[in-house]
Symmetry: C2
DNA sequence: GAAGCAAACTGAGACGAATTCAGTTTAGAT
DNA sequence: ATCTAAACTGAATTCGTCTCAGTTTGCTTC
């Protein structure tokens, strides 16, 4: 669940990269990316504005990095969660649950990811931004691919009664990530409750023969 | 389906507002809002850059207007589609179908809406922007409310076997609008195909006793 | 414990896109 | 022909991002 890792394979101990990313997640997530001034983040961290450029090529580069880390975590969570499951219905439930293992900051990070997906569509001018963008894209593809694989297994063994695995995977993803639009920590529903309800909804969506066990 | 109307209740015949909006939808939708230079739109329309400020207070004001128009159309489409239906299952199918009545430009407009929903979360500095933002928010609420009402009817008469009408409505909305993330005119699936598949998926999501008739 | 070195950092200013300002032009009504 | 409001313009301003040309810091090696 570590939100942070990156770049120089061995991070210098006095590096502020992790702090910057954490601060940026809070600000971007709370107030929005455009609305947040890059300088504010420098102030929060306690460094000069230009010091940020020691760690990131640009504000967008920082955003893309945050998105890439989230996507990468998402892939890992999915793998960890589904590898244990032995049938497609259980795997689906586990996959959905893995999407909602989130600290408050993780929730912000996922909201940021959702809100800026469109950035991944068009080419970036600078080297590192483009690099992160392409990484993000392939991670997105990997996620779609993994979910598609899960659905396909269910179709093959007759558990899921839908036709198109890829399309169903996209529907499931839309359903699952849509939550970050309205979820707020301390809101009406806890993540535990959301997990349960969403797992059931996901099962219905793929017309699963097996409905997940109530918590 | 008219994409355009607005402001001065009686639009002057030489006003270029409609052209500006149409151009902005194309550009914002195709290349992204941040990536599109305000000046480019002026060039496309064939006016000086500053003439844009005769129509919109800012670039964001234009974006918010585009979003508000789309939300407003969406409300109308929903009403028109569902008023004809006589049972909740049919209403759901009609509501889903109404979401995919879209010209290529409408598709772009809906993508823009999805990609910039986060703008609605935080206060805007200028008068007109804030006005449009609040309009957008209440339209979003209205849409959620309308879908919730539809689901509630289905729950009440036993057609839909889910508990929480609001939550289910949000799930349906996430499912339905998620399509604009990947849909492209001339892509693998036509809107007709999407409509059918989504209507079925929506029915499953609310555990509908009645499955929509195949086209 | 001084020299060397790379990472971390800084202030001053350049840059670019959005926006403001101070008007001018245009089309239609009187 | 005159008047008016909408439509428009070029020049100048603003503001946030980012570049540049260095300086400081802390660790390593001799």
């Amino acid at each position: 669940m570590s939100t942070v890792d990156n770049a120089p394979r061995t991070e210098s101990p006095r590096s502020k990269r992790a702090v910057i990313i954490a601060t940026a997640i809070d600000r971007f997530g709370e107030e929005g990316f455009e609305h947040t001034k890059w300088a504010t983040i420098a102030d929060d961290v306690g460094i000069g504005q230009t010091a940020l450029y020691h760690y990131f090529e640009s504000k967008v580069h920082c955003l893309l990095t945050i998105m890439r880390l989230e996507l990468s975590n998402s892939v890992e969570r999915f793998k960890a969660a589904t590898s244990a499951a032995d049938d497609p219905a259980a795997a689906l439930t586990a996959a959905v649950a893995s999407a909602y293992e989130a600290s408050p900051r993780d929730a912000l990070q996922r909201r940021i990811l959702q809100n800026h997906m469109d950035l991944l569509a068009t080419k970036r001018p600078s080297k590192k931004e483009e690099e992160e963008r392409l990484l993000c894209r392939s991670l997105v593809q990997e996620i779609e691919h993994n979910w598609t694989g899960l659905v396909q297994k269910g179709i093959d063994d007759g558990t899921f009664r839908v036709d198109d695995a890829l399309l169903s995977a996209r529907m499931l993803l839309a359903l699952v990530v849509g939550v970050w639009r309205w979820y707020r920590p301390g809101g009406e529903m806890t993540l535990e409750q959301i997990t349960e309800v969403m797992a059931e909804a996901a099962a219905r969506l793929v017309d699963s023969a097996e409905v997940p066990a109530r918590a």
